[in-house]
């Protein structure tokens, strides 16, 4: 039940009427940025006079209800993941997620931290990832124009994937979020883990739910 579904391209891509509306959706993207990471500092220059994102109809919005894109700007800690999921689920469809910088892609420089998650796309569907630490405003605008093309062709379908694979995403979220012991205690009896050197085992310790004690 909780496996990732195999969906063909034809099943999930928007139909003709939707594609007319997609023309309008792609030219009016309102974003909600989740500014917990360092990526947020790249957004003011992208929005203001030098690079001027509003030329493409992209602008900031105040609340999740009004927004089309959720920008996750930088690393995602386990605590903020809960808020990101809550924010994402409050947004009305159609909605898109942009992972900003390398941290939401693979953990970035925080790849072996006990407090962060490494792959954002396991928990919410990411439509576009902008690599770099941090991506410069040119890269941000390049990424947004790419997202606009994807939306117009009806190929940015992350929100549909989330709906179809709800169980799979929820299971992944629960595995991280229900790891509720506090960092400093209660002491685990004889369960001290050796420091896991490679990425795979760090990831496993994150997923297995016993906490990554170093």
């Amino acid at each position: 039940m909780s496996e990732l579904l195999e969906i063909s391209r034809e099943e999930i891509i928007d139909g003709k009427w939707e594609r007319i509306l997609n023309f309008f959706r792609s030219r009016s993207l309102w974003m909600l940025y989740y500014c917990t990471g360092c990526g947020a500092v790249e957004l003011p220059p992208t929005m203001t006079s030098r690079f001027d994102m509003e030329r493409f109809g992209i602008g900031p919005m105040a609340t999740p209800r009004q927004a089309d894109i959720l920008l996750v700007t930088g690393y995602v800690s386990v605590k903020t993941l809960k808020r990101i999921i809550r924010t994402y689920e409050q947004m009305p469809e159609p909605k898109w997620v942009v992972g900003f910088g390398s941290c939401p892609i693979d953990g970035g420089i925080y790849w072996n931290s006990y407090a962060t998650i490494n792959h954002l796309e396991k928990y919410i569907p990411v439509d576009l990832s902008l690599g770099g630490c941090m991506p410069r405003p040119q890269a941000v605008i390049d990424g947004f124009t790419k997202l606009m093309k994807l939306i117009e062709k009806g190929e940015a379908v992350g929100y549909k994937k989330y709906r179809l694979n709800h169980d799979w995403y929820k299971r992944n979220q629960r595995e991280v979020l229900e790891r509720t012991e506090p960092v400093l205690g209660p002491p685990a009896k004889g369960q001290a883990r050796a420091f896991a050197r490679d990425v795979e085992s760090v990831e496993l310790s994150h997923i297995s739910g016993s906490g990554g004690e170093k």
Partner: protein
Amino acid sequence: MIVLQTIGAAALAMAIGLLFMGIGRIVTARLQRRVGPPVWQCYIDVVKCFSRKSTSHHFVMDLGSIMGLAGLVAAAMFMPVAGWLPLQSTGPLLVILYLMPIGYLGMAMGVSASGNPLAAIGIGRALTMMVGYEVPFAILLLGLVATFGTSSLVALNQLQAGGLLAWNAVRMPFGFVAALIALQAMLAEKPFDAMIAPAEIASGPMVELGGKFLGLAFLQHSVAIFIETGLVVNMFLGGATSIWIFFVKQLVLYTIVMAFNGIYARYRVEQATRFLWIFAGSLAFVQLVINVLK
């Protein structure tokens, strides 16, 4: 025929309002040394808003949003555009003033039903601000009505016929300045935008509005722009002989408002109310006294 005229006039008010909003965004962008969005950006925004799913929190929220738009559209029916009226009337000023708050109260009812505390704060501020600008505006209107002995906008237009010097803006400069200040507050632009305040109370009344509700709020604002600038054009700038001149006069007013919006910071709501009562109110009162003495 009258149905078609009504629908046409409503669509025209929305289209003109949205066009002005787009131009206003470009004006703001140029003041900030940006390029700004294309002129038709607001039309795209509205279509996009209506193409999204939306979350309703209560039946009253649906009702209030519709009522908000309907009240303002009803007010637009009595606004003479270069002497042309969708409904047979003489442009009754008091009816417009009576119908306009229905729009705002509908909005207040709708967003209060969403249950968000920030929306309630925003509505509280908006209604306080309304007390602020309605007082000077009411003094102005009563002054006009008392001076000319008519509350019909068409008659006011005819009284101002005959060139620039016959305009009320020239004959009553203090009143015109007071009307401009009140217009700034009516359109909720800076420095009187404490009810919106995106960084402070997360856009206030709009906080829970998503999708179609936000589209309705957009349309409501566009009709509000049309009515409020139209009122000032009819009362002070002599109306117009053709529909295009009317729109150009409206656009000039709206551009002035947006230019001030681009350079001022935000007043707190009690500061804004005090400013409106003391400055706009006393200017309007001075004009009233001058009119009486003449």
